[in-house]
């Protein structure tokens, strides 16, 4: 196989020897490009998380907080850390929990003002301009995947001055920077939406529109998170969800989650 410049770049990015299987991130990037060429309603975004690869570092949680400028009390993708067994026979299990983007989402039906709905590509979204903040949808979600924006700041209550707080000024400015969820700038600091609204993971729909994978997927240091279009038989995620290791959380609820776990 001739060594092209493209292959060399791939080698540098992925660390995989030329000719060995492609790095999943590069493959998912190609899958994403193909999916974006199709009309919205022909895409079916899904996520697969390989629990044998997850090391519980929570990099995805933090990447998500940074990407979506999440304030205190709001988290889209916590990583659950369970200790199994009793000492000395103990082991740990890590399970990231984004929104499952359910095909039958119980959170949607309950909304009194149709502020939350399932898009044609299956992503469940919230219209911040319509949400009245009743929080009924939070109570309806079987996965605790929705959180409420109380309008807080992590930097609130930190002393106004003092040389010991390194980076305080930048932190405050960063917290007040706009969030670009749903491809729109949401300024923070004046109490405007999404303060007082319910918030949730959208598979980084704003990044998808720009041709980028979700922040959690690109950040995952264990290459444990996979994302793509289930309507594309050639996509990596389509291959993965055919595995006998595949499970979904709370199948019995009939929510048809679109996040799959490989156990």
């Amino acid at each position: 196989m001739p060594v092209t410049t493209e292959k060399l770049v791939e080698f540098i990015v992925s660390g995989a020897p030329v000719g060995t299987p492609e790095d999943p991130l590069l493959r998912m990037q190609q899958d994403l490009k193909r999916a974006l060429k199709k009309p919205l309603e022909q895409r079916r975004w899904i996520m697969a998380i390989d629990l044998r690869k997850c090391v519980g570092c929570s990099a995805c949680t933090i990447a998500c907080v940074a990407e979506n400028k999440l304030p205190p009390g709001v988290v889209y993708r916590p990583v659950m850390d369970e200790e199994i067994g009793t000492y000395p026979n103990v082991t740990r299990r890590f399970l990231p929990r984004p929104c499952m983007q359910c095909d039958e989402p119980p959170c949607v039906n309950v909304c009194p003002v149709q502020a939350t709905f399932k898009r044609a590509d299956g992503i469940v979204v919230i219209n911040y301009d319509d949400c009245i903040g009743c929080r009924y949808c939070i109570t309806a979600c079987p996965y605790n995947a929705r959180t409420f924006d109380f309008g807080g700041f992590y930097s609130k209550g930190t002393p106004a001055q003092g040389p010991s707080i390194i980076g305080q000024v930048k932190t405050i400015a960063y917290e007040k920077a706009d969030s670009f969820e749903y491809g729109k700038a949401w300024p923070r600091g004046q109490g405007s939406s999404p303060v007082g609204n319910v918030r949730k993971c959208t598979f980084c729909s704003h990044r998808l529109n720009a041709g980028m994978l979700p922040a959690c997927t690109t950040t995952c240091i264990g290459r444990a998170t996979f994302f793509g279009d289930a309507n594309d038989a050639g996509s990596l995620v389509s291959e993965l969800i055919g595995s006998t290791r595949m499970i979904r959380l709370k199948e019995e609820m009939g929510t048809e989650p679109k996040v799959y776990y490989l156990i």
Binding site: V75, V110, D130, C131, T139, A140, F148
Partner: protein, 395 residues
């Protein structure tokens, strides 16, 4: 003991409650939801519980306004205007509680402009909007003799006959409406498949029973202390109220027992955890002391013990104990389902004060709830002192 004796303490308490509430409202306006103690997991708190409490009280009081019409027992007519006034004041209290609880209260009108027909919450809002319209219409007609005379017009017997017919139609309309919105509030919780503690098919019926108990408690209290004529008819009214109170309390007790015992026997872990929290958790006293002892057992004993029940003051006190104790009933509906994680490991997944599974209302929440209760009490006391609530001309 009568209203004269109670007037000063009642007004005093109401004014203190209003002052506390003014601070609570100021805090909510300036600090927003940051002043609350609930979070993203325990997402509803005291505000929602008080909302349930007041709407059910409004429903119960309103059912008592139609009690004469339903039962044909004339002494209930003495309660007619009092019950309408309680229903109006209580529904105002309920709506204030839920409105202030919204993340974006300025957008409440969206429920009217873009309602989701599949949402029980939207259904409920529409149902109690209709209820308020019918209630106001009922009051307008019931007080027509007074306001017509105040305008210098005569109120003829033909008008009275016509008004009586309209009022009867409104009463017929209002009964299913009250049942719809009171049961609808139960359905709001009952439809939640994600929360086994709430997912009870009989919840709508149980909520109607709770409404009847709250209504009976309030009416017993008012009949004892706010109706000055303690004649024979009043004795009859008190005895009927006592009996109804006892019957409704038994029904309420049966519902709670059936719900909890069947759930415990079924042993679905989140359900068992929620019920254990109620029965033996940190706030066990809210169930055993406030809800069961004060709200149910003591009033029941007074109502069914002939020696005690014939004492009007004691019966009135039994009524107010029910009214007080049933706040705990509402709290014990809302919170236990939320303080149990839907996935156990979420407890420790992300450390943040708003991402915990415990809750006790903040000072601001208490202040607001007390203030809104003060608004309800003040509205009723004003109506009682300014309007002729102790007679009925039309009904």
């Amino acid at each position: 003991m009568n209203y004269k004796t109670l007037r000063l303490p009642l007004w005093g308490l109401s004014i203190i409650a209003l002052l506390i509430g003014a601070w609570g409202a100021y805090e909510r306006i300036t600090v927003g939801h940051e002043s609350t103690a609930y979070g993203s997991y325990v997402v509803w708190g005291l505000g929602v519980a008080m909302y349930l409490y007041f709407v059910e009280l409004a429903a119960g009081a309103h059912l008592f306004a139609t009690m004469e019409f339903i039962s044909g027992y004339k002494p209930f007519l003495r309660l007619y205007r009092l019950a309408l006034a309680v229903a109006l004041a209580a529904i105002v209290g309920g709506l204030l509680n839920i409105w202030s609880d919204l993340g974006r209260p300025e957008r409440f009108w969206e429920v009217y402009l873009r309602p989701n027909p599949n949402s029980v919450m939207a259904f409920m809002v529409w149902a109690y909007t209709l209820f308020i319209v019918v209630l106001l219409a009922q009051m307008l007609i019931e007080f027509r003799p007074e306001w017509m005379r105040a305008l210098g017009k005569t109120y003829s017997s033909q008008t009275q006959m016509r008004d009586r017919k309209i009022l009867r139609i409104l009463m017929i309309l209002s009964v299913p409406m009250v049942i719809a919105f009171s049961g609808g509030v139960g359905a709001l919780f009952g439809v939640q498949g994600a929360r086994p503690y709430w997912h009870v098919g009989m919840y709508p019926v149980a909520f109607i029973v709770t409404a009847l108990v709250s209504g009976a408690g309030m009416m017993t209290f008012l009949a004892a202390f706010f109706i000055p004529d303690h004649d024979e008819e009043h004795q009859g009214l008190m005895s009927a109220l006592r009996r109804l109170l006892a019957i409704f309390l038994v029904a309420e007790g049966l519902f709670v027992f059936a719900d909890y015992s069947i759930s415990l026997y079924g042993a679905l872990p989140p359900n068992v955890a929620a019920i254990r929290q109620v029965l033996t958790g940190q706030y066990w006293w809210a169930f055993w002391i406030i809800q069961v002892l004060i709200g149910m057992v003591i009033p029941f004993v007074i109502a069914v013990t002939p020696g005690l029940g014939r004492n009007t003051v004691l019966t009135g006190l039994a009524g107010i104990l029910v009214v007080f104790g049933f706040v705990a009933v509402r709290i014990n509906v809302v919170l236990p389902a939320l303080t149990v994680p839907e996935i156990e490991a979420l407890r420790t997944a992300f450390a943040d004060p708003r991402l915990g599974f415990t809750y006790f209302p903040s000072v601001g929440e208490w202040a607001l709830a007390i203030g809104i209760t003060g608004v309800v009490a003040t509205l009723f006391l004003l109506a009682y002192e300014r309007l002729p609530l102790l007679k009925t001309e039309v009904a």
